[in-house]
Symmetry: C2
Subunit: 526 residues, 2 copies
């Protein structure tokens, strides 16, 4: 029986698609050439003492070198630490020390920022084409990536046969809006199974960001975040063309889309908004997610010919659910578009349960909110070296996501909010994510975050922090929401008590609204 | 972490699609109702002493009761023996004794045939709506299926939590054209992974029998054969409507297609030919396979609007490859149609190697024949209680299929023949499957089998046994093949030395040409 390990995908691809290509940084590599480079890299690292269990940190945007590191580490059994470059500097260092990084690979973009760390970690590799730079003397050993690669033999590494599917493949540290970053280890079979299953879900449903072997893929989600939501694996798994955007800005991304005929991308809603502002962007499939998706962006995307699907998941649960058009709904209707924004179906093999405070499943009635619990074959074991936090979230084979959601009557899931973000007003939940999506439907609202403010009578009441894109005031938004109350879209008591208008709303490293900062700034001040 | 076991699919389906339906024998069951019946059946069997490891034989066409047995056995950890009803009677009994059947479930269609066995196996269950029949006195215990089911409680069985993904789920006995039937045990995770992966392959490729959650499925492949090529699992996995044809003949199948709006079916080429003869059949997706597919049927199917794909695999290797239209070929061309007949791409995660006699991979040149070897995450461990035969086929993690094939230049696979069927003429292979496909392109040839005849000079020479559908003689077919030689489709020495015209060609239980019978009958006589 064959093992379910990451490098196996490449072994399969070079038999079925040796001439298929990976485009990165203006260069084109066939799968066969890519495989050759991976072999040389793995052999060279092996000669340098890298072996099963060695932890290697990589700090890079989405490049072919970062992708090569995925497959070389897999062949050696080394643990790939995909360093989260959106962490604050001291958190990033914390993650590198906590994970036990022995090697650090860093690309030009990030090299200046890590200078103070050269003496802290023993081995450094510079993923740069500029080999005239001086290598740091503080490090025990330092290499240019291409030099290291050139020193390797082009043969299978002996260690590869010994890698098991239950071995650790990679480690990643979540942002955490509070406290220190939490590490999550991914095993070969769990990261592969979980990553690829989300593309199976997409392939099995006809509308939205459906995938096929004919698509050309470009991930805007960085590799550090669940391996670009599985994009480090899937195109090679299906034998498709993969384009890596490096550090391209939205204009550069658009040029790549046009030049390389990209047909499928993943990105967070903020990135989608920026691309929608580029003239000529459209007619493409997009998987997005990370926060409730405002109907304004959804409509704008739809008008531009963006066939989108929304994903729900996270680094500590992997992919859980993706939005679909229910099979009894005509795909060409407004209703279908709305389902793709609010109706998530769990991936095959994933169980989702929404529970009330007593731990009972809530009725599937389209309104009763509860805590979202998830069970799947690819749940991680817990947080790395954090038994206490693990115990709070990984319970009896289930993962308590900390999200608040409900089931529609047709059993599709809606994730409304983080439990910690929801507002408890007079004993009733107000899900801020859902409320934000409604407020952002107002044409003059560019972005909005709803946070709680203390209230003597109700306990908490909602406060909206609004970034405008036109002339609008508190009364106009309240009136707009009252009209939504009449349409049955929200309860009257959800309407915020106060509005604050700001120039910019702070975001987290993952591009989500940074409610911690907003709460610190505004919760007590109104 | 959740276990990858069969009944888990049903647990998932009743959350996501409780109102989806299974249609069988004129009855309609929602998934929720189906689940209730499965629970009652499992509890009732548990009360009767069925437990983990109990072997239960089922002898039935594709019915809801047979499907219920899949999920009830899974919950109990009982081993489902899907009895191969196309075996000769004495072989069938051999398989039941060899597998260790303690219970036998039999439907009305097969009950008369098994009468002599009532005293041989202790427990019998009659899957019949006619409860006025007399139950056999020879059996230790005998029940009507619906009575047994009614006696069960509607609750989860305690045993269910203890079932592991490496536990045995089922056992099946292959026909074997020579010798006694060979048993293959399927574990939960291998049968699920292998079965479902073939549908992922179909979903990931745009042309042919692509599957989606909107399709309505009807399997003509019997459940005994790899659980209807995975159809016992996939519709429930994706939450789709499933229609079970029972013992319907082609006319009855067509009525079901029209009434239930079937959009996807699986079947062997013989069944496809019979359906194509029915007026009104077409505009449907079909997965077929089991033997090289003649271009005549392919064209006829295409003209009827049948979007077909061809599968290569077997009960001892599960699904291995499915035909595709290469990504650089326009799907609306004749070339695309031809690739769907002759160009198989291994399923993702499957490795296929075609080796010469020295064990080296043959060049991918579109002509060099070699032995087909397969490696996949779901290969069975070997043949049940047959260590010697196992050793001959399961070698170093690979399965030696015993098939002869080659790789096209674009790395798609063509399986040309069984090694034992190919003809060695003057030291060169003549693949009979491929030759048969060419001969059957002649408009007056209905069916053809090519077998070897002894030849003093060449060792072996081909002999064609032909069933005609019009006026044709030896010279006409030879001339036709000579024109194919000029087109570069075959080598001149492939043209058979002799032709025998017959009224009918014997088939095996799997619907393949029975070459053993033909060789016994004709090889020495010409």
């Amino acid at each position: 029986m064959k093992k379910f390990v990451v490098h196996q995908l490449l072994h399969h691809a070079i038999i079925t698609h040796p001439e298929q290509v990976i485009v990165s940084d203006g260069k084109v590599f066939t799968y066969k050439q890519f495989y050759t480079r991976v072999l040389k890299l793995a052999n060279s690292l092996s000669k340098q003492g890298v072996k099963k269990g060695t932890v290697i940190g990589v700090l890079d945007v989405n490049s072919h070198r970062f992708l090569e590191m995925h497959y070389a580490c897999s062949m050696l059994g080394a643990v790939l630490h995909t360093i989260n470059f959106r962490l604050a500097p001291e958190q990033m260092v914390y993650s590198m020390v906590h994970a036990g990084d022995e090697w650090v690979f860093v690309s030009d973009v990030f090299a200046p920022a890590v200078k103070p760390l050269f003496s802290k970690f023993p081995h450094w590799v510079f993923m740069s084409d500029n080999r005239n730079q001086k290598l740091p003397e503080e490090a025990q050993k330092a290499f240019f990536y291409e030099d290291l690669l050139e020193q390797g033999e082009e043969k299978e590494v002996d260690e590869t046969e010994k890698i098991e599917e239950n071995d650790v493949f990679s480690i990643f540290y979540t942002t955490g809006t509070t406290g220190k970053p939490k590490g999550i280890q991914y095993k070969h079979h769990t990261i592969l199974h979980g990553s690829i299953q989300l593309f199976h879900h997409l392939a099995l449903h006809e509308y939205g960001a459906r995938v096929s072997s004919r698509d050309v893929y470009m991930p805007l989600i960085p590799f550090f975040h669940i391996h670009a939501w599985g994009m480090a694996f899937f195109p090679i798994y299906v034998g498709a063309k993969l384009v890596l955007p490096g550090a391209a800005d939205p204009a550069g991304q658009l040029r790549l889309i046009q030049k390389e005929k990209i047909s499928w991308m993943n990105m967070v809603p903020t990135q989608l908004q920026m691309l929608l502002d580029q003239k000529g962007f459209g007619n493409i499939k997009v998987l997005t997610g990370g926060s409730p998706f405002a109907s304004g962006i959804a409509k704008k995307a739809h008008q531009a010919g963006v066939a989108f699907s929304l994903i729900y998941g996270g680094s500590d649960q992997l992919g859980t659910a993706i939005s679909i058009v229910p099979e009894d709904v005509d795909p060409d209707t407004e209703e279908a578009l709305e389902w793709r924004r609010v109706g998530m179906r769990p991936l095959p093999l994933v169980e989702v349960s929404v529970k009330d405070k007593e731990g009972h499943e809530v009725p599937h009635d389209g309104e009763t909110l509860g805590s979202v619990w998830v069970r799947s074959p690819w749940l991680p074991d817990g947080y790395y070296k954090e038994p206490e936090i693990t115990k709070e979230h990984f319970i009896d084979g289930w993962f308590r996501t900390g999200d608040l959601g409900f089931f529609h009557k047709n059993h599709l899931l809606y994730v409304a909010d983080r439990e910690g973000d929801a507002i408890k007003s007079g004993g009733e939940w107000i899900p801020t994510g859902m409320l934000e999506a409604l407020i952002s439907e107002h044409p003059a609202v560019a972005q909005v975050a709803v946070i709680p403010k203390k209230d003597e009578h109700w306990g908490q009441r909602p406060l909206a922090v609004v970034k405008t894109s036109g002339k609008v005031d508190e009364k106009a938004i309240s009136d707009f929401l009252l009209s939504k109350v009449r349409e049955g879209k929200l309860a009257k008591f959800w309407i915020p008590d106060a509005f604050i208008f700001v120039d910019d709303i702070p975001l987290t490293s993952a591009g989500k609204l940074n409610k911690k900062v907003l709460r610190d700034r505004y919760s007590e001040t109104v």
